[in-house]
Amino acid sequence: MTEHLLSINLLIAFAGLVFITLTKRVKTTTIKTAATIVSGLQLWIGFEIIFNFNPLETALQFSERIKWIAALRIDYYIGIDSINLVFLSLTSLLVFLSVLIFWKNEHRVKEYFVLLMMVNIGLTGTFAAMNLFLFFVFLGITFFAVYLIIGIWTGPNGSNPANRLGVYILLGYILILLGLILLLYENHLHSLNLSELISGNTMSSVSQMIISIIFMLGFAFLIPIFPFHSWLIPVIKKTPVGLTVLVISIMTKIGLYGLIRIIAPVMPVAANTLALGIAIWGLLNIIYGAICALGSSDTDQILGYYTLQQTGFILIGFAAITGGAGQNIPAAVTGLSGALLIAASHAALIALLLIILKKYVPDSINALAVSPGLRPVIILTLLGGLGMPGLSDFIARFTTILGAYQIPRLNVITIISLFGLIANFIVFQRLFRRMIFNQVYSPDQPVVTFDTNEMFVIVILLSVIILLGLFPGFLLNILKAGLIRMVEMFSTAVAL
């Protein structure tokens, strides 16, 4: 039974989608309950997968393979290793939390949950797919649902973020399609199964470079990376929190997943050559994000630029894979672990920041005064963004910097990237001062409260941030074996 957990996970989401589609729109409670049960079941399966996952096993686990389109060697091929386990677990958790956050909303409930289930299926499939065509199919479902969700819930006046996001994700999507088609015809196996591409691929270095650059650009639109990030802030500004959490926390991670899952193992020579460029690109993100955040006083913008900086660190962490080519495998593993930690930490932290900070508009009011019962939560959240030791963000960045610094090619870049840490500290410290120490407070200011669902979500996210910050070893141990194997294979491929 356990070997089918991934398919069961997808089937549950699909059953939820069908059920909600067939339910009358007036039965909002039934729809919400169904969505909660479905996402809850998926979360439970997520836990089952984590507990049954063997971190020492380097082969794919829970894998299933069924022939789909034999002529193009396209299979329904799904499986889990340590890398996608992180992303799948995050997806299950955040979909469940998104359902809870949206619970009180009464605007187009049916459409929302139908599309949410589509996003759910899309994301779960994207992170589980071991065939790149399947990956692309699920990616398309995610993008289409996200476009509709943003378009509908930002309303007629919100067409701007929907359009912008639509065009960007479509550009990324199309570049990925192009890369995929080229990959299919350039590799002598004419296969899109990842395992075959990794083990038996003999693409020339020129082909690898061209396809990698196409994929890189495609993923750059999704991660998002400077200068393709202009959809980010409008989406944060105009989209309801439940949706923003999904889009910013999870969807943006698809880009990173693509880098680690496709570019590095399938096109190692190109990844090694491009690593320095990727690191510089990451540094640009950090500097740009830091400068913009320093000049901004708007919370939404600060969160947007914070995301951009985190992306920069993720790219630098990813670039550490080049250490594998220089036989510095531990450093490469540390850098990659850091990048994945940042992804996990950012997903939880940005969700928390969005849920809490969106309530305090304008942010010049004294948050502690208007929400007296929430003092520890607000303080901890802001400290998390600030990068306080003991919380997830600190250890994630620290691991990334530690890994990247050990790679001679990335020394200087890593040192310059510290500027981002300082800038981030200043920005969040200012926000902290405004929200905690500000004396602007009028007695008639309404008290800001969070309902039970929101509080539950906040507690869960806060727990994740604290647990990741205090016990990062749990996640690092899961990642270790898989990353070592990946870096070793990378090293061998580059040496050849």
């Binding site: 389109i69 199919v137 699920f138 479902i141 509709l148 378009g151 299919l184």
Partner: protein
């Protein structure tokens, strides 16, 4: 086999033509009841479909010294055309504000006959004539609902541009005849295969025929007028004009390329003519400011790009490319019919969620036939040649533009409240069933497309007795 014996293979055309003629004559002598008129058209279409289904010979047949040929490919395309026509006819029966004149039924049937002739044509002049009949029938169809002066002027512009494209094609045909001494498509192919010298006149002839033919199909130069016409047309006429002619003409172009011009030893000129025209067709919507127009316009404009995708597949001059082109057309036409059965702006995201799936298919979202069709086209275009990279580039840009165009329609359907453009069809069971049937086919085509592509490949047998 004599012409008389071969007539048996052209029963569908005969049935349709005789019905059209009978309708016209009776309408001159005596006013026919509307009910009887509809019955006659419906019965002739069903008879034609039945006849097409029953003919199962193993070898190809020709009539009138092989001016027209019957082969498996022709039969398949005709069956598809007649099914599309029947769907459109059902929509016509359910449409609330259609024009009820006998001439419309006549034109309707004549258009189908012309399409059948174009698909079977083995002679360049017959092909040319069939295309011109299609053009003129289209012009007449476009004029029944509204004969205002403005619409008239627009219609004339449309006709003149299509006739100009036809003229270029005719010039090309005469040059080819002057060089090869034959009008027969298969004969031209045979001459080319025997290694005839490729002189400049022949190349110019090929290029002119291709350019004229493709611009008759795509109508890039006349699209400005076509969009204006389509805006005011009833659903059935618009569907008839935007689906069948393109489908049949692309099918005829495939025959022309496979049996005739494709045999050329150096395919560069053909590639250039088809590729440039396809590129123009695909990229055209970039010049169209969708914001200025009604929401139905993006659908019409993007439809041009959709036709362009089929043309892109033809650039490969290979069987798999032709299969991709036909598959693309089937998927696209299915979407348009399904879309019309629900009408765009009555959905509002709440009433007809199926429409979103159809629009998703038109965009090319995975798990829909629209995506698999695009994927097959792109897969065919991946070749180590700069020209193909250019075509892939234009195709990808068009993909983005389509998303914007259809995305605008989706947004109007789901968010905005502009419902003023089209009249809803009566939500009858038959219409609903067609929509569901096509919807399911679109999803099946998106998940398991190989059975259909394999079948199309199997019927791609072009024969001359």
């Amino acid at each position: 086999m004599t012409n008389f014996h071969s007539l048996g293979y052209f029963i569908p055309e005969i049935v349709l033509f005789l019905t059209a003629l009978a309708l016209l004559i009776i309408s001159v002598v005596n006013q026919l009841s509307l009910r009887l008129e509809k019955f006659a058209v419906g019965a002739s279409l069903c008879l034609a479909l039945l006849a097409l289904g029953l003919i199962r010979p193993t070898v190809s047949h020709g009539i009138f010294s092989n001016l027209l040929v019957w082969d498996a490919y022709g039969q398949f395309i005709k069956i598809c055309s007649i099914i599309i026509t029947i769907f459109i006819f059902i929509i016509y029966l359910h449409e609330q504000n259609h024009t009820t004149v006998t001439e419309l039924c006549f034109v309707f049937l004549i258009l189908v006959v012309a399409i059948f002739i174009a698909v079977s044509a083995n002679h360049l002049l017959v092909l040319f004539l069939a295309i011109q009949i299609i053009n003129i029938a289209g012009f007449l169809l476009a004029h029944f609902p509204d004969s205002s002066r403005k619409n008239d002027a627009v219609g004339w512009h449309d006709l003149i541009f299509s006739l100009t494209a036809g003229l270029v094609m005719l010039m090309g045909i005469t040059i080819i005849y002057g060089t090869t001494g034959t009008f027969f498509i298969a004969e031209t192919g045979r001459i080319l295969r025997t290694g005839a010298d490729l002189n400049i006149s022949l190349i110019i002839g090929f290029v002119m025929v291709m350019f004229g033919f493709i611009h008759t199909i795509s109508g890039v130069f006349r699209l400005h007028w076509t969009v204006k016409i389509n805006r005011n047309l009833p659903v059935c006429s618009r569907l008839l004009l935007t689906t069948l002619p393109q489908f049949a003409e692309i099918a005829a172009l495939i025959r022309l390329l496979n049996s005739g011009f494709g045999a050329i030893s150096d395919p560069q000129p053909i590639f250039l003519a088809v590729g440039l025209s396809a590129g123009m067709t695909v990229i055209y919507p970039i010049f169209w400011d969708v914001k200025e127009h009604k929401s139905i316009d993006p659908v019409n404009v993007a439809s041009l790009s959709q036709t362009g995708f089929s043309l892109l597949a033809l650039c490969t001059l290979t069987l798999s490319g032709y299969v991709a082109a036909v598959f693309y057309q089937i998927a696209f036409i299915g979407c348009l019919i399904a879309l019309a059965t629900g009408e765009l702006l009555t959905i509002q995201g709440e009433k007809r969620p199926g429409q979103i799936v159809i629009l998703a298919s038109l965009i090319g979202v995975p798990l829909t036939a629209g995506f698999s069709a695009k994927f097959i086209v792109f897969s065919n275009l991946v070749r180590p040649h700069a020209g193909y990279y250019f075509l892939i580039g234009t195709g990808l840009i068009s993909y983005v533009l389509m998303f914007i165009g259809y995305g605008r329609v989706i947004r109007q359907c789901t968010v905005e409240s502009d419902r003023s453009v089209l009249t809803p069809l009566k939500g009858e069971r038959l219409i609903f069933s067609i929509r569901v049937l096509i919807l399911l086919s679109l999803i099946c085509g998106g998940i398991f497309w190989t059975p259909l592509t394999d079948y199309i490949r199997a019927v791609m047998i072009f024969g001359v007795p």
